[in-house]
Amino acid sequence: MTTYALTDSWTMTRRELARWGRQPVAVVVNLVFPVMLLLMFGYLVGGGRGVSGEYLDFLVPGMLALTMAFGLEGTMVAVTQDLNKGVIDRFRSMPMANGAVLVGRSAADMLQSALGLAVLLGVAAALGWRTHGGPAGFLGAVGLLLLFRFAMLWIGIHLSLVAGKPELVQAVQILVWPVGFLSNAFAEPTSMPDWLGTVVQWNPLSQTATAVRDLFGSPGGEPGHVWAAVAWPLALLAIFFPLAVRRFARLSR
């Protein structure tokens, strides 16, 4: 059984890639959406402060973190679809490594998110954004962003397995917006009322954004914040990874 774990995981990942090939428009829309947000906030909100200046340097790390958070939706849509189409039942009735269903999901989502990061960084660079943190800082920042996405991934899998209903996906699609905006992605918490600032600072998204700003050498970064951007996602993973795996195994209850 375990000898097939790798083969089956790879097959399941390829399944997701084949789905991309079938829906190129959806893939492009997914990649373009964060770019659109970046441009919108850069020009509309940040317009007064100038797009090319300090606000862009502040905004880009925030948008990168926000994009990772919004990845939650994609994961939930895919898992919920599989559950409701009964295709997960077919997988589970086959002599395949059971975990491969979840591994394939993770691999494909992480790949899509890495691609999303690359596109967003490319557009930012074209607008004049630069990292000031050197190659090590840059790679560290990308690592933190992907770690945050990985935590979101397992929250998404768990929630989908628990609810299994398309209605929940809709609710989450709406709720990610306030959660996304109650962060420091667009503005410094110091510019907010105290209570709001506190909420915003505790948002895991803010932790990642702040650490990435630090590693990029951008305004809004705080030295020594990297540990928090490591600890938060790891804590979320410590909760949701085992829950999701247990939930998946318990589909047979």
Partner: protein, 324 residues
């Protein structure tokens, strides 16, 4: 039975131990034996426990209690061995709708560890066999209901399973789709596959199955061949619709069965009664009505409906097992 492909003894399952569910058992001590290479129908209304039974047999659901073996292996302790030997056609098409038909079959072939080349060859073979070659590259979401069901069936036959489960294979299909699925199932039986199918339609069980188990409230309440069951439930029925409801009482006396076996529906001016000899009953009733001068609007012979089978097999409130 020595050579059984499926053995179920005293299977019990209640949903929602830790919340949810209504505490009513879905399976309440169900027994079932299916001989190798036969087609066995599990017949029952919605909520009788048919899908629960199939999900347990296909290792998707754990039973609370009971000894359950498929192809000689225990479904709980040897789930992997069971999965190597079964195919499953669930109530809803278990396909990736975004992918093409061929892509789906190749995916499932690879997950059965056929390897890339054999998975591809097998996919082509099955597409050919189920008359889907032309549409193999189309996305499944563009398929018609019947095509989807055929592809789903093809997917459950990737490894030529010893035992195939079909959970209400024709529910929601139009008559043409239904006929297509029936043909496919018949062609399987020649290959020696054991088939367990669930259905709400007596006619479907009659058409496809060697033996039928009637289930209700999680138990088998009758078991036998289609002929045995029909004999036990009074077989065919005759329906007579009169022009004038006032003649209903007089017409009841003319039917060749005891008075209390006749059901009378005054609103529809309808009499219905079980018959044993179809032709004799039909000609006898026509003649008797003519002689009595009672005008009939319609006279028809038909098979008993599932409701009538149930009415016969189960008392109105005392639903106990009746051996056939």
């Amino acid at each position: 039975m020595a050579d059984a492909a499926i053995t179920v003894e005293e299977a019990r399952k209640t949903y929602g131990g830790s919340g949810g569910g209504n505490g009513k058992p879905a399976l309440d001590g169900l027994d079932l034996t299916v001989g190798r290479g036969t087609v066995h129908a599990v017949l029952g209304p919605n909520g009788a426990g048919k899908t629960t039974l199939v999900r347990i047999l296909a290792t998707l659901l754990r039973p609370d209690a009971g000894r359950i073996e498929v192809a000689g292996h225990d479904v709980v302790r040897e789930a992997y061995a069971v999965r190597l030997r079964i195919g499953l056609l669930g109530q809803h098409a278990a396909l990736d709708e975004e992918l093409g038909g061929r892509q789906n079959l190749e995916l499932f072939g690879r997950l059965h560890h056929l390897g890339a080349r054999r998975a591809r060859a097998r996919a082509d073979e099955l597409l050919e066999r189920f008359d889907l070659s032309d549409t193999g590259s189309k996305a499944v979401k563009q398929y018609s209901g019947g095509m989807r069901r055929r592809l789903d069936l093809a997917a459950s036959l990737i490894t030529e399973p010893e035992v195939l489960f079909l959970d209400e294979p024709t529910t929601g299909l139009d008559p043409r789709g239904r006929a297509e699925v029936w043909d496919s199932v018949r062609s399987l039986v020649g290959g020696g596959t054991t088939v367990l199918l669930t259905t709400q339609y007596l006619e479907e069980a009659d058409q496809l199955a060697d033996r039928i188990s009637v289930v209700d409230a999680g138990r088998v309440i009758a078991d036998g061949t289609a002929d045995e069951l029909k004999a036990a439930t009074g077989g065919d029925r005759i329906d007579v619709v009169l022009r004038d409801a006032g003649h209903l009482g007089a017409a009841v006396a003319l039917l060749p069965v005891p008075k209390d076996a006749v059901t009378v529906d005054t609103d529809r001016r309808l009499l219905s009664a079980p018959v044993t000899d179809r032709m004799a009953a039909l000609t006898g009733v026509v003649r008797a009505l003519q002689e009595a001068g009672i005008e009939a609007e319609d006279i028809a012979l038909r098979r008993p409906t599932l409701d009538e089978v149930f009415l016969h097999l189960t008392g109105p409130d005392d639903r106990t097992k009746e051996a056939v």
